[in-house]
């Protein structure tokens, strides 16, 4: 039984994959597929992180700055001083949890708090790594650039991210409680749960996925930079929406979010295969986004009539 909410994201990804293979048949190989989807892995992780935030009714405008900070810590501190590096990464996750608690306890608008946090993450990243550089820990590069037989690493990683996120968010009791927080806050608190604690946990989960995104990015690029992932903020929000998520009511789809991230990454490759003038690359991405969302409207209308 496939969720109808997932139909359109799957379809748009399939159409794009077909178009890319048609334009560039050589991409239809182990190496080709890996190259196409490599950079989608960190984006998929960041999108899942953003999805968790959107699921509880908030929005995170600091995602790009946070992933950049994690990339800086991973590249500059983790290889030299693993103990300190891991402690800092754990500290980042705890800070995220504290943010969630602060937002719930003081009833602050998440959009503004994360806006402020984006300055803080950006400042910390510049302090840790003033100029681009650093190196990736050997084990991290080994994981990210591994060449398993038959199926490229990028595909295995994407599928595992989707599976883990799906089990955690859709199938576990913990996930249900978090979704309920976005769906009906009052019901959750009447049921005797601490909303402060739940929101803190949701932010912690998002923090963990975002940390993994930063580490995966460094594993691929083998260096860090304070601006390396700034575009992730917008990419991750767009990925969640493309994947069938909504801004209200705890309605999200982890599998859809991963597919949305893959679609966005592939759209970039598709446009460069089209030999589109670089002037129009960004614009065409916007147009693709609008097209997919327009298609979603048509599908919804058809569903209603049926």
């Amino acid at each position: 039984m496939i969720n109808p909410r997932l139909l359109l994201p799957v379809l748009s990804l399939a159409v794009l994959v077909a178009a890319v293979f048609w334009l560039q048949p050589r991409a239809m190989s182990y190496v080709g597929v890996n190259l196409l989807f490599n950079l989608a892995v960190p984006i998929a992780l960041a999108t899942v992180a953003q999805m968790v935030i959107i699921m509880v009714g908030d929005i995170d405008l600091s995602m790009g700055a946070f992933v950049s900070l994690i990339a800086c810590i991973t590249a500059a501190i983790l290889p030299e001083n693993p103990a300190l590096g891991w402690a800092m990464l754990a500290g980042c996750v705890l800070t995220y949890a504290a943010l969630g608690a602060l937002i719930e306890a003081r009833q602050l608008p998440a959009i503004v708090v994360t806006l402020g946090m984006s300055f803080i993450w950006g400042g910390a990243a510049v302090l840790i790594l003033p100029s681009p550089g650093g190196s990736s820990p050997a084990w991290l590069t080994a994981i990210m650039k591994a060449k398993p037989p038959l199926v490229p690493m990028a595909i295995i990683a994407s599928v595992s991210i989707a599976a883990v996120a799906h089990l955690l968010i859709m199938r576990s009791g913990f996930g249900v409680r978090l979704r309920a927080l976005g769906g009906n806050l009052r019901a959750v608190s009447r049921a005797g749960r601490s909303t402060v604690r739940l929101r803190a946990m949701a932010y912690a989960v998002a923090g963990v996925f975002a940390v993994l995104a930063g580490m995966a990015l460094v594993g691929l690029t083998t260096s860090g930079d304070a601006n390396i992932a700034l575009r992730y903020t917008l990419l991750s929000i767009a990925g969640v929406i493309l994947g069938g998520g909504e801004f209200t009511g705890g309605r999200v789809s982890p599998i859809g979010a991963v597919i949305g991230a893959l679609t966005l990454t592939l759209a970039g490759s598709f446009l460069s295969f089209l030999r589109l003038s670089p002037d129009w690359q960004i614009g065409a991405q916007g147009a693709i986004l609008i097209l997919v969302l327009a298609a979603r409207l048509l599908v919804r209308r058809a569903e209603k009539r049926a």
């Binding site: 929005i59 405008l61 602060l102 003081r106 009833q107 602050l108 608008p109 959009i111 503004v112 708090v113 806006l115 402020g116 946090m117 984006s118 300055f119 803080i120 993450w121 950006g122 400042g123 910390a124 990243a125 510049v126 302090l127 003033p130 917008l234 929000i237 767009a238 929406i241 909504e246 801004f247 209200t248 003038s277 002037d279 129009w280 690359q281 960004i282 614009g283 065409a284 991405q285 916007g286 147009a287 986004l289 609008i290 969302l293 327009a294 409207l297």
Partner: protein
């Protein structure tokens, strides 16, 4: 009148404190006038974008315009290109530039609202996707060329005609007063607040929701376009990244100024306080001689602290 209860009161206190702090450390107490002029000039850009963003945010959760930077760049680029190619009397060129910038803004606003209304795309995503298109258009149309504004316009944008107050600040002040009247004394303002407080109730009460929302998005885009035009004239030409900082800035000044992010409650004086504060805080940290990292960090901490304190105050009331 209990002035300390006004939502913009604390923002003004913070802005004033930041001014004093910057003044006292820069050049041993001198240069207060220079600091005030710089603050007023740069704050007027934030005010102009902030006013538009405030209207949009007033319509309630989910309403925000992320296309402000791209609209600014597009309007600045196209209007300067037009003025660069025109020949004739100076006033005609200037007028054509202003009108073309506003027309670009109006088009952007109509596109934004069409995506939101006709395709039912959430405003955040709609304005974001549209901004990609505007950005591409701007890149394509100017190809990295920097066209200088007419000398008279550049003079006006950097000048201080009356009492030494920057012209830009006067323009922003006049427009702010217009916004204040529209929000507090006109049917449009009442209807806008009604939508922000409860869109369903507003519709049932006969408020033409679509028309008000459309007007608001178009007004916001026009304000962005006007800011882009003035900023391009001020800085001697349009640059592709010239709007970048105004995305966060327009949201930040709205919220710091005490407008409710949940919608339905906006105030104009707070926009000025927020804009002055944001500029002064950065120049204060600059004059302490701090590095870029610490500066960013402190800015973030201060924003969050203000929002945490300000919201707590509202919760008690």
């Amino acid at each position: 009148m209990r002035i300390h209860r006004a939502p913009w009161f604390w923002a003004w206190v913070a802005a004033f404190a930041a001014f004093l702090a910057t003044w006292s450390i820069s050049a041993g107490g001198g240069g207060g006038a220079a600091l005030a002029v710089a603050a007023l000039t740069f704050a007027s850009f934030s005010v102009l974008t902030g006013l538009g963003q405030m209207l949009v945010i007033t319509m309630g959760p989910g309403n925000v315009d992320l296309s402000i930077p791209a609209t600014m760049t597009l309007a600045g680029t196209l209007s300067l290109k037009l003025m660069g190619e025109m020949t004739g009397p100076v006033w005609a060129i200037m007028l054509a530039g202003l009108v073309s910038a506003l027309a670009v803004g109006a088009c952007a606003g109509v596109v934004n609202f069409a995506l939101i209304r006709l395709l039912r795309i959430p405003p955040i995503i709609a304005t974001l996707s549209a901004s990609f298109l505007y950005q591409s258009l701007a890149i394509w149309s100017n190809r990295g060329l920097r066209i200088k504004p007419p000398a008279a316009l550049a003079e006006f944008a950097t000048g201080r005609a009356i009492l030494g107050i920057p012209n830009l600040a006067l323009v922003a002040l006049v427009i702010s007063i217009g916004f204040w009247v529209a929000l507090n004394r006109s049917g449009f303002g009442r209807r806008l607040s009604a939508i922000g407080q409860n869109p369903r109730a507003a519709r049932l009460a006969g408020v033409p929701v679509a028309r008000i929302m459309g007007t608001t998005y178009v007004t916001c885009a026009k304000m962005a376009a006007l800011t882009g035009f003035l900023l391009a004239c001020f800085s001697g030409g349009a640059a592709l990244n010239m709007g970048a900082e105004f995305l966060l800035m327009s949201i930040a000044v709205t919220v710091i100024g005490g407008s409710s992010i949940a919608g339905g409650d906006s105030n104009v004086p707070g926009i000025w306080a927020g804009a002055l504060f944001m500029y002064l805080i950065v120049s204060m940290l600059n004059s302490y001689g701090l590095g870029a990292g610490v500066r960013l960090l402190s800015t973030g901490v201060i924003i969050i602290a203000i929002v945490a304190v300000a919201s707590g105050r509202k919760a008690q009331a």
